[in-house]
Amino acid sequence: MEKQLIISLGREYGSGGHDIAEELAKRFGLPLYDSNLLEEIARNNSVDHDELKKYDERPRMPFFTRKVRGHSNSLEETIAYMQFEYMKKMAERGDSFVIVGRCAEVKLKEFPCLVSIFVLADAEAKIERIMKKFDLTREAAKAQIKKENYNRKAYHNFHCPVKWGDSRNYELSINSSKLGYEATTDMIEAYVRKRYEKM
């Protein structure tokens, strides 16, 4: 791509946001970063990626955490901080990419090439998707969606001054269960192309 383009995609668990991000990355020919961002960080530091992954996009444990002069013993917090720094570094050196979650819509807000999107879905659509994807019962899927969305929300709201999923923080908030995943992706793609022309 001639000009720099960063697409940040926040998503509800079960909304298909990750698949949409993957498809967008393919269509724009951009690398996709999600938990693999930690793989890069782990590789750079010669450490075990699985060890870092345990703390990825997780909220910190309030009563088990203490902060001292900008340092925190919370691994969730430090791993998040490492990812924010890494994202910023990539953006500063002019890289174009698609990034899933990780508060990117806030942490990269200063970059004019950022297009921020949030994908949500109807409760029933999310349950069906998670039941099918992980072969779960309805109750188990519901519980998993509740837990994961709680974690994402707590993680986001701790690291950002704005609320997770609040449409005012994103250029585009879209319900993937209305048009279906493909049509939703088409719509986002069209929007991003228009935005890219205007950059």
């Binding site: 060890e51 088990f64 203490r66 001292v68 340092h71 013993n73 691994l75 430090t78 791993i79």
Partner: protein
């Protein structure tokens, strides 16, 4: 309970909860709670202008003994302990100067070179250096530099830095317990109860020395299988001299540090109080820093100093209203006439509390308590003080949140991808903490009873 006592207690508990939840910066919490103490407890409920003046302790500045005294006997535990504030501020300025000149990184690399970059000797040397540095410098700074140097060397020599960082953290907390200026609780205890540097060195210092031997053995056996380097012959070692950013500033900062150590060690003989030493060291560092003076001043951790100021006022609310006497009476009731039991309770309660809450407010709260305990039970005040100092200083090592050095060490390691979670941390550090508290308790029982 009177309205003033209830208000003081509610403010204190509220402050603790807000500090633990970290929703609001802790210095703002302590200052707001201090204001509430002054207005509600002393003003509205006690109608005592004297209590307000005692709490602010402004008049201590004009007392000659605040600046020059054979010991710190003039300092009152009630109210803001300005000697502690001035000393910590002065040392912060000195340490910033040393760090900026590259002193700490040079020291680490020099030591690594001296042990020929071998992992086991490095592990032992860094533990000892951590303890020695922490005797004079705050443990946060010690770990900040030591952990960073350990990770740098670990990358170079291809070893796992976590065992070294854990043992350095523990030794920094242990070294801090050895002297009056090593850990904030000790400065507060020393200035409040009138102890000298030598008093600490010959009491808690000896306990720390004995404990250090056991701690080194303990950590060696915990980690000996992990202290393996995978470096090959092509490894290029850094030159310690490269760590020095400015030779002149480096020399000056090393001299100032040496002078600070001499002044602290001899302060009982020279009569200079820690407030004077802190002020002198801070001013000299600024005067010799030239145009960097403003940079050093900006880097002082004012939030911590403000936190201390607020904290002292809130604790004075508990003291003036007699709440701490009630707590002391409760401890005295449990221990009966058994002085050994009283010391053991103070030590273990301090250690367990410090493992989970900030040891500075805890120590500040406990000083008036042990003073009352000494008066009512006949138990020796110095012995209770050493028990309190060791309990608060060492207890903090047991959990990741117990002491500032732990938080900083874990964070520095995590930023380089080396994770130290609660279970991993506590499995090594909690037993070490128990070992040291037990050793110290035995030392106290053998020596003073």
């Amino acid at each position: 309970m009177s309205a003033a006592q209830i208000a003081a207690l509610v403010i204190f508990i509220g402050m603790f909860i807000l500090i633990v939840t970290e929703k609001i910066e802790r210095h703002i919490v302590s200052l707001v709670c201090a204001l509430l103490t002054l207005v509600l407890v002393f003003g509205v409920f006690m109608h005592s202008g004297e209590a307000i003046l005692n709490s602010l302790a402004i008049k201590s500045f004009i007392e000659p003994s605040f600046w020059y005294s054979a010991a710190e006997s003039s300092e009152n535990s009630s109210g803001i302990n300005w000697a502690t504030i001035i000393f910590i501020a002065g040392m912060m300025i000195m340490v910033e100067g040393m760090g900026k000149a590259g002193f700490f990184r040079w020291l680490c690399l020099r030591l690594a070179k001296a042990v020929e970059y071998k992992v086991v000797p490095l592990f032992l040397a860094f533990m000892i250096m951590s303890a020695i540095l922490a005797m004079f410098i705050d443990s946060i700074t010690v770990i900040l530099f030591l952990a960073a140097a350990t990770i740098e060397l670990a990358k170079l020599l291809k070893f796992n830095p976590v065992p070294l960082i854990l043992s350095e953290i523990f030794c920094a907390n242990l070294g801090g317990s050895a002297t009056m200026c090593g850990d904030p609780p000790n400065i507060i205890i020393g200035t409040s109860l009138g102890y000298s540097f030598a008093d600490f060195l010959t009491n808690t210092g000896l306990m720390a020395l004995v404990s250090l031997v056991f701690v080194i053995i303990y950590f060696y056996f915990c980690f000996k299988n992990k202290l393996v380097s995978k470096a090959d012959s092509s490894t290029v070692y850094p030159d310690p001299k490269d760590a020095i950013t400015d030779v002149k500033a480096f020399t000056i900062s090393a001299v100032i540090f040496f002078v600070a150590v001499v002044l602290l060690v001899t302060h009982a003989q020279t009569g200079l109080t820690v407030a004077t030493i802190g002020l002198f060291i801070g001013v000299v560092t600024l005067l010799t820093s030239g145009k960097d003076a403003m940079v050093l001043l900006k880097k002082v951790d004012y939030d911590t100093l403000l936190f201390f100021i607020g904290l002292f006022v809130v604790v004075s609310g508990l003291e003036e209203t007699g709440i701490l006497e009630i707590i002391a009476g409760f401890i005295a009731d449990i221990s009966g006439d058994n002085a050994k039991m009283t010391v053991a309770i103070v030590m273990w309660v301090s250690a367990i509390a410090s493992a989970f809450v900030d040891n500075i407010p805890f120590a500040a709260t406990m000083i008036p308590v042990i003073r009352v305990l000494a008066e009512t039970t006949g138990c020796s005040l110095p012995v209770l003080s050493w028990g309190l100092a060791v309990g608060t200083d060492i207890g903090g090592s047991a959990t990741p949140i117990g002491a500032s050095a732990n938080v900083v060490g874990i964070s520095v390691a995590a930023r380089e991808g080396h994770t130290i979670g609660w279970i991993r941390y506590c499995s090594y550090m909690a037993p070490a903490t128990i070992i040291v508290i037990l050793i110290s308790m035995v030392c106290i029982f053998v020596r003073y009873f």
